[in-house]
């Protein structure tokens, strides 16, 4: 049995910037325990030295000339924003007042 407690779910949700109700926390803790228990077998799969694969196809870095090309205009980039002002994205306060 893995160790996904309600407090851990609250912490993970907070890191993920998702508001969760107490009811959701209880449901998620139950579901995540079942899922984590079933995927924990990966820890037994690897014996000895094995390289990790982060990307399925080998790739080499490619350079290009540093040339300015057409891109989104400021107006277009802002056009779908929920709120904007003076050519910028407008958001709520970053810091608490206290």
């Amino acid at each position: 049995m893995s160790e996904i407690t309600p407090d851990l779910v609250r912490h993970l949700a907070s890191l993920s910037r998702i508001l969760v109700t107490d009811e959701e926390v209880a449901t998620l803790a139950g579901e995540l325990n079942v899922i984590v228990d079933s995927i924990a077998i990966v820890t037994q799969a690897v014996k000895g030295d094995v390289l990790a694969t982060s990307h399925p196809i080998p790739m080499a870095n490619v350079f290009r000339e540093d040339v300015v090309e057409p891109s989104l205009t400021q107006e277009s980039a802002l056009s779908a924003a929920p709120d904007s002002a003076e050519g910028r994205f407008r958001v709520a306060a970053i810091l608490d007042e206290e």
């Binding site: 779910v9 196809i57 277009s76 970053i94």
Partner: protein
């Protein structure tokens, strides 16, 4: 007109190219049928007659000037809703993007337009492609044309439902763990996941960037091949896009020959985990190939046993990072809680309201997998399993040209049957996930109806990376063997939607 909607994309392309019929007539026929039947199938989230017909007229005008833009010139197409389109909202099946119209076209969409294919609309999908049934779409599930009480597979169930119900002759899907191939199998259609990097992901709303690949959905192998030829090729906007061409898939289909073919059956995917009727269809495919002269051997891929576990660590980890961009700042939903909230509270309230339960589950799971103390044990091991799977496949492909497996463990299940059991839902992808983890191409081709329920089954063909042509060659061989037996594609046996 009813004849028209049952034709394959390549047949329609020939009729349009010879000016026997216009792209406008073809596009209108599919569009009218889509408007009539979409309330039953929920294949499309968005349909726009004006843009589709304008593109068809432009295709006709080009042809009148002697310009044939591609082998699929004038053939209308449906596009999965996780590809950005400047003339249609793009939601990825989520409420957090409801009504968002992107500022740029995905490379695949731009290539379709350039190749003269009118876009009929955007197809339904599980939210951010997380699911195997479309039941996790924020806009309700799509229905399987074979039985409207059943799922059409997922996440690309809108595209498979549209193509198998003849609401579109061809469609675009995306495949992270089977989202093209599983829907194809359960709707009796064809779907292919190309080699990772063969098709640009620029403008695809990413689920798991190291696994995602865009590919074709169709009713024939040739149609998928023609569509892959149109959308593939290097794109400087995608740093993982392959620099080299993989050749013409359509040529591979046309030159298919069973002589000397060596086929591998994966020991770990030839088991009781598969529905007996699905297994019987698979055994029949293998028997037919042997009778036709192919050599069949059993290959051992022991690390496949860990594929689902590795996938459900890598995918949530990448998804939790990719979906961080839905933060209420630049586009999409913004929910402002009462009081004088900080931006962090606005983000949390927005993501609470905008994401569905499966998306929240996977983001939180991914955050867990990436947390300090668990990272090495879980995510690190999962990445090593990827290496082991690649090694198993390399060994298998040293003995055979392709691997064959059943695509899906079961036929289409009932809507509601698995929606509250995430683990049961994850197991649908047992045979398709290894291809994404290893980056190799895989396709599903119809191989009969399961004896228990009379619903379609599919056989999956896996080929080594970059050898998509080999996969299409074998796909065509399998298709031709069944055409000889049935006299028509499997899809011809599907019930007619309009009499319901």
């Amino acid at each position: 007109m009813s004849d028209l909607i049952h034709k394959s994309a390549s047949e329609l392309a020939d009729l349009i190219a010879s000016k026997s019929i216009s792209s406008e007539e073809v596009t209108s026929a599919f569009f009218d049928r889509s408007v009539e039947l979409n309330p039953k199938t929920n294949s499309y989230l968005y349909l726009n007659r004006d843009t589709a017909i304008a593109a068809a007229k432009a295709a006709d005008a080009a042809l009148a000037n002697g310009e044939k833009l591609s082998p699929l010139h004038g053939v209308p197409i449906a596009v999965k809703d996780n590809l950005t389109t400047t003339d249609a909202p793009t939601t990825s099946g989520s409420k957090i993007l409801e009504g968002w119209v992107p500022q740029y076209d995905a490379t695949v969409v731009a290539r379709l337009r350039k190749a003269g294919l009118p876009i009929l609309g955007k197809t339904n999908m599980d939210e951010f492609a997380m699911g195997s049934s479309t039941e996790y779409s924020a806009y309700g599930p799509s229905k399987n044309p074979w039985d409207l009480t059943r799922i059409p597979g997922g996440s690309g169930g809108g595209s498979s439902s549209a193509v198998s119900g003849h609401l579109a002759p061809i469609a675009i899907g995306s495949d992270t763990g089977g989202s093209i191939r599983f829907p194809a199998a359960v709707t009796g259609s064809v779907g292919a996941k190309p080699t990772y990097g063969a098709v640009s992901r620029y403008g695809l709303i990413a689920l798991a960037s190291s696994l995602d690949q865009i590919g074709p959905v169709s009713n024939t192998v040739l149609d998928s091949a023609l569509l892959q030829d149109v959308i593939s090729g290097h794109d400087k906007h995608d740093s993982t896009s392959l620099p080299q061409s993989l050749g013409s898939m359509a040529d591979a289909v046309r030159s298919a020959d069973v002589k000397g073919l060596r086929v591998g059956v994966v020991k770990q995917l030839d088991s009781d985990a598969f529905q007996p009727g699905v297994k019987a269809c698979f055994d029949d495919t293998i028997a037919k190939l042997v009778a036709a002269g192919a050599e069949v051997v059993t290959v051992d891929c022991p690390s496949f046993e860990y594929a689902i576990a590795a996938y459900y660590l890598i995918l949530p980890a990448e998804a939790s990072s990719n979906l961080a961009k839905f933060d209420s700042v630049r586009f999409g939903l913004r929910v402002i809680p009462d009081g004088n909230p900080t931006i962090e509270r606005v983000m949390a309230a927005t993501r609470e309201a905008g994401f569905g339960p499966e998306v929240k589950r996977r983001i939180i799971l991914g955050t867990y997998a990436l947390s300090s103390g668990y990272y090495d044990a879980y995510y690190g091991s999962a990445q090593k399993v990827r290496t082991l799977i690649q090694q198993d496949l390399a060994k298998a492909f040293s003995q055979v040209d392709v691997l064959l497996t059943p695509t899906a463990p079961t036929t289409a299940f009932k809507i509601g049957e698995k929606v509250n059991d995430p683990l049961a839902m994850y197991l649908n992808d047992i045979a398709t996930i290894p291809a994404n983890l290893a980056g190799i191409p895989g396709m599903s081709v119809p191989n009969g109806l399961a004896f228990e329920d009379g619903l379609p089954s599919g056989v999956q063909i896996l080929a080594p990376a970059m050898q998509d042509a080999q996969m299409y060659r074998v796909g065509s061989i399998v298709e031709q063997m069944y055409l000889a037996e049935w006299g028509a594609p499997l899809i011809a046996k599907a019930p007619k939607l309009e009499v319901l």
